[in-house]
Amino acid sequence: MHILVVAAPAFVASVVEFVEALTIVLAVGMTRQWRSTLIGVGAAVATLVVIVGVFGTAIVVFVPIEILRLVVGGFLLVFGLQWVCKATLRAVGARAKHDEAAIYERELALLSQEPPVATVGMDWISFTVAFKGVLLEGLEVAFIVVTFGASAGQLGPAALGAVVAGVLVLSVGVAVHRPLARVPENGLKFAVGLMLVTFGTFWAGEGIGIDWPGGDAVLFVLLAAYVGVSLIGVWAVRAMLRSRRIPLAVSVGD
C-alpha cells in the first residue's frame, strides 16, 4: 500500500483534532500563563507519543495481521460511521456546527471564573486545561495513527502524517494568534469519516476472509461508492427535514 494512502487520512484527521486543541490552548495561554500552558501541551504530546509508540509497536509485533485487520477494521467502521453521520447532520443543519470562535469565547468565560494566576511558579490550572485538551483531542489522532499504521504495516508514514498536520496547525496558530475558525471542519470530518469507513470495510473484510477483487485498488471503488451514498444521504435528510419544517440548530455544539 502506497505511503500516501496511509499518511493522508492520518494527516486530515489530525488537522481537524489539532485545530480543536489549538482553540483550547490559545484560550488558556492568552488568559492565564503561556509557560504552564506550553508545559501542559508538551506533557500531553509526550504522553501521546508514548501511547503511539508502545501500543503501535506492541500491536504490530504481537497481534496476527488477520485478527488485527478484523479488529481495527471494525473499530474504523464504528468510528467512521459516527463521523459521517454527525457530519451529515451538521451539513443539513440538524446538528450545530463546530464553531471555534464561539468555543474560544466560552473557554475564555470559563477561565475568567478561575482563581488568579500564581505570580511565581507553575499555574496548575493552565497546565491541567492544556494537558487535558490536547490529550483528549490527540487520543483520536493516536487511535487513527495506531490503527492505520498497524493494519497497513506502515506506522511511520501514519505518524508522519499526524506530525506534519500538528506542525502546520501550530505554525498557522502561532502566526495568526487566534482560533482557526475558517478551517472547514465539517467538510474535513466528512472526508475523514468516509476514509475511515472505506478502510474499515476493506480491512475488516480481509479479516473475515474476503479476498477483495482487484486487491488494494478496490479501496478507490469503495471510497467513491461511499461518497456517492453519503451525498444521497445528505440530500435525503435535508429533504426530509425541509418537508417537516424543522428549525436549524443554533447552539455551539460539541
Partner: protein
C-alpha cells in the same frame, strides 16, 4: 472502583457514545459477511453485501436521529 468505572465510562463514550446502533450495526454487518464467507459466496458479492449493510446502518441511524417524536 471509581477509577475503573470512570475508565469504562470513558471508553463507552469514546466508542458507543449516544448512538449505540452505530456500534452494534457494523458488528452485525461483519457477522453477516463472515457467514457469507463461510458459505463460500463469491468475494465480490460478499463485499457488496458488507458495503450495503454498512450503508444501511448509517441510513437507519440518520433516520432514528431525525425521525419525528411524539
Amino acid at each position: 472502583m471509581r477509577y475503573v468505572r470512570a475508565f469504562g465510562a470513558f471508553w463507552y463514550d469514546f466508542l458507543v457514545g449516544d448512538r449505540p446502533e452505530l456500534f452494534l450495526g457494523p458488528i452485525a454487518a461483519l457477522v453477516v459477511a463472515w457467514l457469507l464467507v463461510g458459505a463460500e459466496v463469491a468475494p465480490g458479492i460478499t463485499g457488496l453485501v458488507l458495503f450495503l449493510a454498512v450503508c444501511a446502518v448509517g441510513a437507519v441511524s440518520l433516520y432514528l436521529t431525525t425521525r419525528p417524536r411524539a
